[in-house]
């Protein structure tokens, strides 16, 4: 970026892993209800929040994501009965580890959001996006070669 160029507003890159059975439909509902959430959020549909491998999250940061959010069914409502319980334990430990290593605290989040909660989905995304904007660009887990 040249020095003369006007400083543009920071647009974060946010990745949302959405469970097919709830929040993915929630995002749909948010859309059809004309609720807005930032276009910076890129949704990846997963069959269940339990499908999200910790490696996905680390890879996302490596490839330039500034925030990663995982949306799944409310505890007790998992389509596969228990997937989100396992996901909850895994993500708890992973987030704690990331914090421990001094990387990206606050850039990760888990939210339970059903298919009926279009409003919650859009609010969550707006909130998370604001939070990431305040944190700025993610640098600690990124790979230099993927930067622009």
């Amino acid at each position: 970026m040249s020095m003369n160029e006007e400083k543009t507003e920071f647009r974060p890159l946010i990745l949302a892993f959405c469970c097919n059975w709830c929040s993915y439909a929630g995002a749909d509902l948010a859309g059809s209800s004309r609720l807005s959430y930032p276009a910076d959020v890129k949704i990846i549909r997963v069959p269940c929040s339990g499908r999200v491998n910790p490696m996905f999250i680390l890879r996302a940061f490596e490839r330039g994501a500034d925030g990663v959010i995982i949306c799944g069914c409310h505890p007790g409502d998992c389509h596969y009965s228990t997937g989100n319980y396992y996901a909850r334990r895994r993500m708890t430990l992973l987030f704690s580890m990331l914090d421990y290593m001094g990387v990206e605290n606050g850039r990760t989040r888990v939210e339970w959001c059903s298919a009926a909660e279009g409003v919650k989905f859009s609010n969550t995304m707006n909130e998370f996006c604001e939070k990431i904007k305040s944190l700025g660009k993610s640098v600690r887990l990124g790979d230099l070669r993927c930067k622009d």
Partner: protein, 319 residues
């Protein structure tokens, strides 16, 4: 040690076992190597002293696949790993005969070598040896207090009890003189920037030799995700700092809840990276969030990561 050697010979000659997994005398006074002994003659080279830190339980995965029983010498902390391997159906208990050997802490040659070169002999490291070990070098002799040369893991010893055994040989000693989570708490108390710098400095030494993974008794996957050529997880160099951070987080994650904190990863690291800091952090978190759990203590217990309760805390909360 002679007593142990005689007992092992007996086990071979009376047909209890057909082979013995133990340690063989090394070419230096301080580097015994894990070895399989098939006969009483081979056992002449058997050794058991303060340098036999290697955890032999992982080698039992292959050994118990062989025909006939294998006797294995396990120290108290090794028995946790062995139990965990039974839990995961990795070893065949029926093909194993466990000689639970006593332990008074194992030695770290790197600590002895600090400021010492040209070692020709080290004495007093046997189980019934003295509190002071004598190191002879071509540049002169010196003595080191046994406790000063202990491996770091022995300072947070899990106790002198063997978790599993067929017979016990020798007295053990609980060498713990530090709090297990002291180091973790010290790091947690740092600012995020300090923590980041600390791990960056340590991990940037990583040469991706995979010794930590290959020695780890919990890393018993037939095909490791980091060897999978179909997926770009496979990296052989610390190309950028991200790679080794990813490797160590994921590796620690894969053994979380199964890691017995045996400390082999830190012992074998050629660059001296304190890798146990990752595993122990997970253990501390698991203890705090889901209740005290020691992998390998009870071969029937459910691993915390394959279990859940309805009331688990939410990710991001500090419990």
């Amino acid at each position: 040690m002679q007593g142990l050697k005689d007992r092992l010979k007996e086990l071979l000659t009376d047909g209890t076992v057909v082979r013995i997994l133990g340690w063989k005398k090394g070419d230096m006074p301080y580097n015994p190597e894990p070895a399989i002994f098939n006969s009483a003659e081979e056992l002449e080279d058997f050794v058991y002293d303060g340098f036999c830190g290697a955890n032999l339980s992982k080698m039992m995965i292959e050994a118990t696949k062989l025909e006939g029983k294998t006797a294995v010498c396990l120290k108290p902390c090794d028995t946790y790993s062995f139990n965990q391997l039974i839990r995961e159906h990795r070893v065949n208990r029926d093909n194993a005969y466990i000689v639970a050997v006593g332990c008074r802490g194992k030695l770290d040659i790197e600590k002895i070598k600090k400021g010492t070169k040209g070692i020709t002999a080290v004495s007093g490291t046997e189980l019934d040896g003295s509190d002071e070990i004598t190191v002879n070098t071509i540049y002169g002799d010196k003595t080191v207090a046994y406790t000063d040369a202990l491996l770091d893991r022995c300072h947070v010893c899990k106790g002198k009890e063997h978790m599993i055994s067929d017979e016990i040989w020798g007295e053990s000693k609980d060498t713990a003189d530090r709090e297990r989570f002291e180091e973790i708490e010290r790091i947690e108390a740092m600012s995020p920037e300090e923590r980041f710098e600390f791990f960056k400095k340590e991990l940037s030494k990583c040469i991706r030799c995979n010794a930590c993974r290959n020695v780890c008794p919990a890393c018993s996957c037939r095909k490791c995700i980091f060897d999978n050529t179909k997926f770009d997880a496979q990296q052989k160099a610390n190309v950028v700092s991200f790679e080794e951070r990813m490797f160590h987080i994921i590796r620690a994650f894969h053994v979380a809840g199964r890691c017995t904190d045996c400390g082999e990863c830190s012992r074998v690291c050629p660059e001296g990276i304190p890798l146990h800091l990752f595993n122990r952090k997970f253990i501390k978190d698991i203890d705090k969030f889901y209740g005290e759990f020691q992998a390998g203590k009870d071969p029937e217990a459910q691993c915390p990561l394959t279990d859940f309760t309805f009331e688990d805390i939410e990710p991001g909360e500090r419990g």
